[in-house]
Symmetry: C2
Subunit: 331 residues, 2 copies
């Protein structure tokens, strides 16, 4: 294999977020599971938008947010995802390109519009998401550029990609190309309900194809159908080289080579909106790995990136993460 010319290639659902404040009563009335992601159709998205409060629009998508983080950290990144050739698709392409990520996946020229995620943020900063997948259903293996995947040190896949019908094929194709090129494959489990919808496929993938796994407590417990975090952690350790498991305000643990690294959360004056916390933690850890940093340092960078993103509304960094990390003396 040649030298990698891309640090991380991310594959995910290309989504524009619509973020609004909401109260707990609204979530209950709508019947949404707080903190989770619910899939909705176009009509459901229009109806919910009509009922929810004033919002801001910001490019999102889990892997998209992670790639924006990689770029802000100073890494080279490429993104693969499907938008429609419409207004929101133009916004998504602008934002990810403007931060320095290569994004060459052709847009769909017919079919559903660019995906939207309606995000309801409660006073505690917690976000509850309703996603209309739109054009994401058109992502398929034909969108996986072997040159991009082959050139990337790490290929990063978001678990949400298991929801649209043909993305799993794209997912497996990308993992195959990455490993054939001697590269690493990282996966984020994304959401406990998403894990529940596709548990068998995720377990198979984690056991066979994943080198680096990202999950929060609920997701890793869902994967192994246990209520016991330590048991889930012990299980995942057998299957992947590195598992980075996040525990919200309690920080995270990184498991690798039989060792357990406890990572503290970085302090935040006020948690405004947790949207993107996991995505940006992953960005920090992945960036550290591509720079060959020690795992505790990778974790600390992840914590710092997560702290930046939860201190404001929206899941794309507002501050230059490379400067933040340098100020903290982490690189």
């Amino acid at each position: 294999m040649g030298a990698a010319t891309i640090d991380v290639a991310g594959i995910g659902n290309a989504i524009v977020d619509v973020i609004a404040h909401a109260d707990e009563a609204f979530l209950s009335a709508e019947g949404f599971a707080k903190g989770a992601m619910t899939l909705i159709d176009a009509a459901g998205a229009d109806a919910l938008y009509g009922r929810m409060g004033p919002g801001i629009e910001s490019s999102g998508g889990s892997a998209g947010n992670t790639m924006a983080g990689i770029a802000s950290l100073g890494g080279t990144g490429a993104y693969i995802g499907k938008v429609r050739d419409d207004g929101l698709g133009h916004v998504f392409r602008h934002d990810i390109t403007a931060i320095g990520v290569k994004f060459h996946t052709p847009p769909a020229s017919a079919g559903p519009g660019t995906a939207r995620c309606l995000i309801l943020v409660t006073a505690d900063g917690q976000r509850t998401m309703c996603t209309y997948l739109g054009a994401c259903v058109d992502l398929g293996p034909e969108d996986i550029d072997p040159e991009v995947i082959g050139a990337a040190q790490i290929t990063y896949l978001e678990g949400y990609l298991f929801d649209p019908p043909r993305a799993q094929e794209a997912f497996r194709k990308a993992a195959g190309i990455a490993h054939a090129a001697g590269r690493q494959v990282a996966l984020s489990l994304s959401d406990p309900f998403c894990v529940g919808r596709h548990r068998d496929e995720f377990r198979e993938l984690v056991a066979g194809e994943v080198d680096i796994l990202f999950a929060n407590e609920a997701e890793i417990c869902s994967l192994y159908e246990t209520d016991d975090f330590d048991q889930a952690a012990a299980a995942v350790r057998r299957h992947v080289k590195i598992a980075a498991l996040t525990r919200s305000a309690a920080g995270s643990v990184i498991l690798a080579d039989g060792a357990t690294h406890d990572i503290a959360a970085a302090p935040v004056a006020r948690v405004v909106d947790t949207t993107g916390a996991g995505d940006l933690y992953a960005a920090g850890v992945l960036f550290g790995l591509t720079r060959g940093l020690a795992l505790p340092t990778c974790g600390a960078i992840g914590s710092l990136c997560a702290a930046e993103i939860i201190s404001h509304v929206g899941a794309r960094p507002e501050a230059a993460l490379d400067k933040l990390v340098a100020s903290a003396g982490l690189v």
Copy 2:
């Protein structure tokens, strides 16, 4: 005249903001006057969007922001402005309606798209704006609903409305209806360059039609073509009942009935984005006036609203302003 059933009716350019961080070098290279508003055409907007960084989209427009503030403070508001029946127009309508403002102006079904303001925010929090007026050029006197204006205690007009060709007529029609109904007319001067483009018309309006005037130092000095703030203040005092003149971090002064009230700025931990500071200051003062509060209290509410808006990205309130004002013991 009957009792007013609306606190404030706002008339303005209906605009969706695209807000991005930028450095001073970018502003210089583009040739923009820092802190000001430059008008650009559709092609210019597309080209600038292509060069600027990743953004967030948020409903804006000076009077639109003020009306969102009035609603968040617990006031009843109506808004008149022109969007196109397109995606951004839908976003604008959703956001202002969702916060509780009546907005019944029919959208344009042909012609240019909904207006966009590309806002470049520098590290000091200062914003520089480039506006593509789009569908705003279609606002005319036929859009002024006499019932709305006649029912509003205060009709609030943004000076930016002097840029699109037929809005001045709408402006004058609204002022005429308001005064015939025994109501008050408020005007914001909006921008020093906008004042420069329409100085004679603004002076005539201030002398003849305006009861309450909002302006910052640069705007009021531009209106009277002087470098001396005290001289400009003395001039405006002769023409309007109330003049609220803002001085950024130095707070504001409210001139009325021969008296001068010095209003302190409210403290802000970090100035993130000054977009909307003047608009939300106006919201606070206008809300106080509709509640019959003393001018120093009106000014303090304005300062508090401005402090909220500059502590985050975007010109629409993130916090419930009624609660903020109540916590501060101002109502």
